[in-house]
């Protein structure tokens, strides 16, 4: 089966690079084609990369708390660019401060993300979800 393509990056003015590198390594090992646009990436860079590479999934990381502002209107822009079928995953410290996780998760699901992850999880969890969502058999 053809490899599924994932756009990976850290959104906004966020420079947290470690998790990004670990995710690239883990996702590549799991058999995905990774387009890593790295840290400090505006919404447009995710969208352009997804259009150019005909990506199946966009994975957004945000660790510094501005995720809430940075992701405003992201799904709408994806739709405008013809990416309505591209899956949107996001994970990290998505809001400022320690807030109720279920509420944070709901906030991002309402914004149009398909999967929302809390901080501190290992790459295995999103990898299992990706395989499920993309219909990849083990």
């Amino acid at each position: 089966m053809e490899k599924k393509t994932l756009v990976l990056g850290v959104i906004g003015s966020d420079v947290h690079a470690i998790g990004n590198r670990i995710l690239e390594e883990a996702l590549t090992k799991a058999g995905f084609e990774i387009i890593n646009i790295g840290v400090l990436s505006p919404q447009e860079d995710f969208i352009n990369a997804a259009v150019e590479t005909d990506a199946d999934v966009i994975l957004v990381s945000s660790l510094y708390g501005h995720g809430e502002i940075d992701c405003q209107g992201f799904k709408e822009k994806c739709i405008e660019a013809g990416l309505e079928d591209v899956l949107l995953y996001i994970g990290g410290n998505l809001v400022i401060g320690k807030q109720n996780w279920e509420e944070t998760k709901k906030k991002f699901l309402d914004m149009g993300f398909d999967r929302v992850y809390p901080p501190g999880i290992l790459p295995e969890e999103p990898i299992a979800d990706l395989k499920k969502d993309l219909g990849i058999k083990e």
């Binding site: 003015s13 420079v15 690079a17 470690i18 670990i22 390594e25 400022i96």
Partner: protein, 482 residues
């Protein structure tokens, strides 16, 4: 832009200054003469340089948090709480991430949304947008020195506004606020822009106002070997001193092995004194950063990490310690959590202030190796610059002679791979293009082979990943997951 490690003439500085002050409209408020007068009017207890000199003489370790929110009144309330409830000796103002990227329009939007949402939508204090008046309101409301802490590659306007606003200490540097904080800014540009900041502080110094300068020690905060952060700290200290900075605090981020961490703080001071000896009247102090990598989510476990950092800082006799909070794994802490981290640290630091880490043979060996590694790197940097440190630094990054692990910058070679040895000390698994002697290479190799044997696996990138996750999962060394 002709980069040289040479003190800027006042003319050159003033010429560039005109452009810098136009970057945002609050820049027009800055008047250097007024700023000098303002600093002269401030009481002594707000003077960071003085407070650090006293602590150095008394051999005590001062505590300092990180903290910043979007709005002025809330920011003052937060810092007051950390001073009173958290017993912080020194105060910070952490700058938000939009300001760090010079995105003042976005910071403005964050201020607006923070007002309507009635909670901070920014992860720090947007000092440029608040201008001199906003900064002075903060300074006047507090009775401790306040430092600007950020992560800004081009921090020139931020420096102009905050220093004129009464801040007495400024963190950062042309390497330490570029390579870990940017992906696309040349090292040549940031060294040049930080020469401006240092020259500004040199100007204050000439007028009798001593502003403390602190290069950012921990860099990427993840498995950075001491000789890497020492090399950067010493280079930035020297570049600052050349522009007339006198009060310098060099930093180091906790690795986790007590002997290595004590050796690191001691050698940082000893090496820096040696390298800075050509400059007169420099006062050197040290800052120890509690664990900068991934934290456990469980708050009790997080207090364990915080305490160990506090203990190490005290035993190493660092002049100050930057404190983490039990919310670290989840992002920006509440003021209560921040105060808890401070009080935990204060308790440990007070208990250990009269105890010293005794030489034990292992400490001496560790110190010897850190010094050897650092000197091998720095010698090559000077060689590459044909004696000019600024040029040498640019060339050293191009050649991978200076290389910072896990950094986002494309101007960083990224060939290094660090890993812990069997005792948890950070070693070079792959030293990339670092100009190391056989002795240094073999020392690191043997240490890691010892661990590999113990874990029945060859040292590899998986070992490094395990080490990155280890403290978050309750261990120091990332033993294989079962």
């Amino acid at each position: 832009m002709k980069l040289k490690n040479k003190k800027w003439s006042l003319d050159k500085f003033m010429q560039i200054r005109e452009e810098v002050l136009k970057q945002w409209d609050t820049g027009a408020e800055v008047d250097l003469e007024d700023a000098i007068e303002y600093h002269k009017s401030l009481p002594e207890q707000k003077d960071m340089s003085k407070k650090l000199i006293e602590a150095k003489e008394e051999k005590i370790t001062l505590t300092q948090p990180r903290a910043g929110v979007a709005l002025i009144d809330e920011h003052v309330e937060l810092l007051k709480f950390l001073k009173e409830e958290g017993q912080a000796d020194l105060l910070p103002t952490t700058i938000d991430s939009y300001t760090r990227q010079n995105k003042y329009q976005e910071a403005e939007e964050g201020i607006k949304q923070s007002k309507t949402e009635e909670r901070s939508m920014l992860n720090g204090f947007p000092a440029v947008n608040h201008g001199i008046k906003g900064c002075r309101k903060v300074i006047e409301s507090l009775d401790a020195p306040v430092q600007v802490r950020h992560g800004t590659p081009d921090a020139r306007l931020l420096a102009e506004i905050t220093l004129a606003g009464g801040f007495t200490s400024y963190e950062g540097g042309g390497i330490s606020y570029n390579i870990p904080y940017a992906k696309d800014v040349s090292i040549e540009k940031t060294i040049y822009d930080w020469q401006y900041v240092d020259r500004l502080i040199g100007y204050y110094e000439e007028k009798g106002i001593s502003i403390n300068r602190e290069p950012f020690g921990p860099l990427t905060g993840t498995l950075v070997p001491p000789s890497i952060s020492h090399s950067v700290a010493i280079i930035e200290g020297l570049l600052a001193a050349e522009q007339g900075v006198k009060n310098i605090t060099l930093g180091y981020g906790q690795c986790g092995n007590l002997t290595q961490d004590v050796a690191a703080i001691q050698t940082l001071e000893e090496l820096a004194e040696e390298y800075l000896s050509e400059y007169d009247d420099i006062v050197l102090t040290t800052v120890f950063h509690q664990w900068m990598g991934g934290f456990p989510q469980d708050e009790s476990q997080a207090f364990g990490v915080i305490s160990w950092g506090g203990a190490t800082a005290a035993l190493a006799q660092a002049t100050k310690v930057i404190v983490k909070t039990p919310h670290e794994a989840l992002g920006v802490p509440t003021k209560e959590a921040n105060a808890q981290g401070l009080k935990t640290t204060k308790q440990v630091v007070n208990m250990l202030k009269d105890q010293h880490f005794m030489p034990n043979g292992v400490l001496e060996k560790e110190k010897e190796m850190i010094k050897k590694e650092t000197k091998e790197i720095l010698n090559r940097v000077f060689e590459l610059g044909k004696g000019d440190l600024a040029k040498g630094t640019v060339r050293a990054f191009e050649a991978g002679v200076l290389d910072i692990p896990f950094a986002p910058s494309k101007y960083n070679a990224g060939n290094l791979l660090p890993a812990r040895d069997n005792n948890g000390a950070v070693r070079y698994l792959n030293h990339g293009n670092l100009p190391f002697s056989e002795e240094v290479i073999n020392f690191n190799k043997e240490k890691l082979e010892e661990r590999g044997k113990d874990e029945e696996r060859d040292p590899s990138f998986q070992m490094v990943i395990d080490d990155i996750y280890a403290i978050g999962k309750g261990m120091l060394v990332g033993k294989p997951r079962t």
